[in-house]
């Protein structure tokens, strides 16, 4: 049992060797049309995955059993830590998180091998080879600079504990989802590079790339939402997005993945925008690599609790440069060979998706420029400056507004050639409703900025538009008949409407929270009851009962007991805490939140005051939960779309004749 770490180390080295074979042999095989060489790719991908999984399991074992002879376990774990965080602590550090990275990379590679039976053999061999090449670079990185299996000569009695901020369910599962998204985009990248080598992109290619991108995008959505939600309840201020470089690092691939998702539809249905789709696939994964670089290197000194090591940064930068640069060179050489076919009118679904791509790609560019500008300004102009939320709010938001204005119309336009008037016809009602709601909001909230009414209008426009879009797909006839047909609509249609509605819901939450938040900061004596002044339904009384010292498993807590009343009725009992983790020597703030559909009551306990009172911060946060609910709805939309059997019907088409009951595309 004591050799398990060595076993894990060995498995990782073997996985690297297998990946090397998987990178070279099938590529040569595909070039020379040697079936035997190409066939190496699949078992290699499976073997590689099993080996990395074994390696990851070995590291997990070391954490679970608190094997402090491993350097990584000593630095990031503690025997008194709850079991859940012993397990999640595996990826709560640089080395472990990279092992998770390659595990997911191998998982995606292996699934391409498992489910790729109907791909053209040369394309499949090349996809798996490209996927393996990314793996090789990261295995080398881990083994050479970030080995998680290093032993200590004299193991300590106990560890130094995991950063207490990471000991939280929200954050514990934030990295795996984020990585599923980041690394999932590697599939799109591999398909793009393989198609460039192959010199051919067709509808089948689009149909293949889309589900992978969709999966990556939906995981990324969940990952970002988890991080945002965590920041909201853990950081004691209730913000949900800070435009920090590390957040931007995950947001940029998300924006590009969303763009890629939409333009792959055009390739699939209309065989147009091929060049652009390939470029976008390369860039989307490129931004994932850049994101990994930003997070892992700390170059933008957003000191992300873990990892801050220039040597590692340079290595990741080299990997990023190699893959993005190499792919773009290949692109420059080969892309012109892929001519688009489809002809379409200026007003058409195709044009709408071009507009979608322009807005998403340019907004990603804005985030990118804002993120690296402090670095550029310092290196090129010798100015030390900051680019914070006020910049991003001003420079990024207009793109989202434009996107949301266009979205419902674009979604209704038919392919090839459309008439704007006809597409708008079912939408006029929604528009009127959205404008009325905006006007009403404006009338009620007297004297505040126009942003909230604007947000309400846009959000309702998008949500209503999504509903109308779905309804209009049920055709004509009696409502019962239409409802029946609605149920039979393909997953893709449902997914589209659900995901778009999710975007609207998130927008609603953002507008409500940013514009109507109420804050109350005061000193309260134990036993004191006070009113938080707010608009009508959001007015609450708060009573501080007492403040006590409480001991947790690996922390000491200052816990307040607070009751929240509306009128005379008690609606919540809250226990906000301030914790100190003695081993890590760090305090954390645990806000107490009474979650509601229309508002959160968010209470933070501050410092004791000289007069025996305590600083208490109370926030009323309108529609806060809608932000993350919208993200979940978006992710559900992605899942529903993934379940669309057209993917499978089409996938089987190469082997057998299409199923007779196959749903006609569009």
């Amino acid at each position: 049992m004591r050799m398990i770490a060595e076993f894990g180390h060995f498995a990782l080295i073997l996985a690297a060797c297998v990946a090397l074979v998987q990178m070279i042999v099938p590529l040569i095989g595909a070039q020379r049309r040697w079936a035997g060489w190409m066939a190496v790719a699949e078992p290699a991908a499976t073997a590689q995955f099993i080996l990395v999984a074994a390696s990851f399991a070995a590291l997990t074992w070391a954490f679970v059993t608190s094997d402090f002879s491993l350097r990584l376990v000593t630095l990031n774990s503690h025997s008194a830590k709850p079991m859940l965080y012993k397990i999640t602590g595996v990826w709560g550090n640089h080395e472990g998180s990279l092992l998770l990275w390659v595990l997911i990379l191998a998982l995606f590679g292996a699934s391409a091998a498992w489910f790729g039976g109907n791909l053209k053999p040369t394309l499949r061999a090349r996809v798996l080879a490209v996927q393996a090449s990314v793996g090789v670079a990261f295995y080398a990185f881990i083994l050479l600079t970030s080995n998680p299996f290093l032993r200590l000569e004299s193991p300590p009695l106990d560890g130094q504990d995991l950063n207490p901020l990471l000991q939280d369910p929200g954050l514990a599962f934030h990295p795996p989802f984020l990585y599923l998204g980041y690394v999932g985009l590697s599939m799109a990248f591999s398909f793009a590079v393989a198609a460039l080598i192959e010199g051919r992109v067709d509808a089948a290619w689009g149909r293949w790339v889309r589900p992978w991108t969709l999966a990556a995008w939906l995981f990324l959505t969940i990952g970002i939402a988890l991080g945002s939600w965590w920041a909201y309840y853990e950081l004691g201020w209730g913000g949900f997005w800070f435009w920090d470089p590390v957040e931007n690092a995950s947001f940029m691939p998300w924006l590009l993945a969303a763009a890629l998702l939409h333009c792959a539809i055009v390739v699939e249905k209309r065989e147009a925008l091929k060049n652009w789709t390939i470029l976008l696939a390369i860039l989307a994964f490129g931004f994932s690599l850049i994101g990994t670089f930003i997070v892992r290197s700390g170059v933008l000194t957003s000191v992300h609790a873990f990892a801050n090591d220039p040597e590692r940064g340079v290595y990741i930068l080299a990997i990023t440069g190699l893959f993005v640069g190499g792919a773009l060179t290949l692109y420059a050489a080969r892309a012109s060979a892929m001519e688009a076919k489809g002809v379409f009118g200026v007003v058409s679904r195709e044009s709408a998706l071009v507009a979608n791509n322009i807005l998403l790609a340019v907004s990603c560019f804005v985030v990118f420029v804002g993120t690296i500008w402090p670095l550029v300004a310092e290196l090129a102009f010798d100015r030390k400056l900051s680019v914070g939320p006020p910049f991003f709010d001003a420079a990024f938001t207009p793109f989202m507004v434009a996107l949301m204005i266009l979205l419902p119309v674009g979604g209704m336009l038919p392919w090839k050639r459309a008439r704007l008037g006809r597409a708008m016809q079912p939408l006029w009602g929604v528009l009127a409703l959205a404008l009325a709601a905006g006007g009403l909001t404006w009338a009620i909230q007297t004297g505040q900025s126009l942003l909230a009414p604007l947000g309400m209008t846009l959000a309702l426009w998008v949500i209503g538009g999504a509903a109308v879009d779905l309804w209009s797909r049920s055709g004509k006839g009696a409502p019962q008949e239409r409802l029946r047909r609605l149920r039979a609509l393909p997953g893709g249609d449902w997914g589209k409407s659900i995901a778009h509605a999710g975007l609207g819901i998130t927008a609603l939450g953002v507008a409500g929270l940013t514009q109507w938040e109420v804050e109350d900061i005061r000193v309260a004596q134990p036993g004191e009851r006070y009113t938080v002044e707010a608009f009508g339904p959001w007015q609450y009384d708060v009573r501080l009962n007492a403040v006590n010292e409480v001991e947790g498993p690996n922390y000491i807590s200052t816990m307040a007991s607070i009751d929240v009343f509306r009128g005379d009725r008690q609606i919540a009992h809250l226990e906000p805490e301030k914790r100190v983790y003695p081993v890590a020597g760090m305090p954390t703030t645990e806000a107490a939140i009474d979650n509601g559909i229309l508002r959160d009551v968010y209470i933070v306990i501050g410092d004791p005051q000289a007069n025996g009172g305590w600083a208490v911060r109370t926030y009323i946060k309108p529609l806060a939960n809608w932000i993350w609910a919208g993200c979940i709805v978006m992710a559900i939309g992605g899942m529903v779309s993934l379940s669309d059997r057209r993917y499978r019907v089409a996938a089987g088409a190469r082997k057998a004749a299409p199923a007779p009951e196959g749903v006609p595309a569009e």
Binding site: R33, N163, L165, L166, D202, G227, E234, L235, G236, W237, G239, F242, D244, P245, V246, E247, A272, T301, S302, V303, H304, A305, E339, K341, V343, F344, V346, E350, V354, I358, V362, F365, V366, V369, G370, W373, A377, F381, R383, K384, L385, S386, V387, G388, P389, P390, F391, A395, F396, F399, I521, R522, V523, P587, T588, G606, D607, Q609, A615, R617
Partner: protein, 154 residues
């Protein structure tokens, strides 16, 4: 996670428990003045944290800056004067919203300029697709041609 870093930094710097974010004793009695203070604070960063406005920061330095802002406001400064004062003392780094001076104009113009370029390219593409002279049917690849020939010869 930013805050995680901030906590770590603050603790490393002070070795003591953090002073806490904006606390009751700092608030001004005049609500209008306090509101202006908050507005200004949201545009100023805590110098030892990353991308964190001073109101939200637990750092001692952020507290100093909050108090400074209020001091200047009480002394009768306008919002711009307060911000100028902070920039003079702490440098451009303290601004969360970068100025448009000098090279920073690139930062502000990058987005709109890129949008124009993208609209140009995208618009041109859409226009050209409007009525393509010849529908370029995709030819068979060499491999497919050989396979087809083989099948036909069978």
């Amino acid at each position: 996670m930013i805050r995680a870093a901030c906590f770590a930094l603050v603790l490393a710097a002070s070795g003591a428990s953090p002073a806490g974010a904006l606390s009751p004793d700092e608030l001004l009695d005049d609500p209008a003045l306090e509101e202006r203070a908050r507005e200004i604070s949201s545009q100023l960063r805590c110098m030892v944290c990353r991308n964190e406005a001073i109101d939200e920061s637990n750092a001692d330095l952020a507290r100093d800056m909050r108090l400074l802002v209020r001091e200047r406001l009480v002394a009768g400064d306008s919002d711009e004067e307060v911000i100028d004062f902070v920039v003079e003392r702490y440098g451009e780094y303290a601004l969360l919203r970068p100025t448009t001076e000098g090279a920073n104009i690139i930062l502000w113009v990058a987005g709109p300029a890129m949008l124009l370029v993208a609209l140009g390219i995208g618009g041109g593409f859409v226009w050209s697709r409007r009525r393509s002279p010849a529908r370029t049917e995709e030819a068979l690849s060499a491999e497919e041609q050989t396979r087809l020939d083989a099948l036909l010869n069978e």
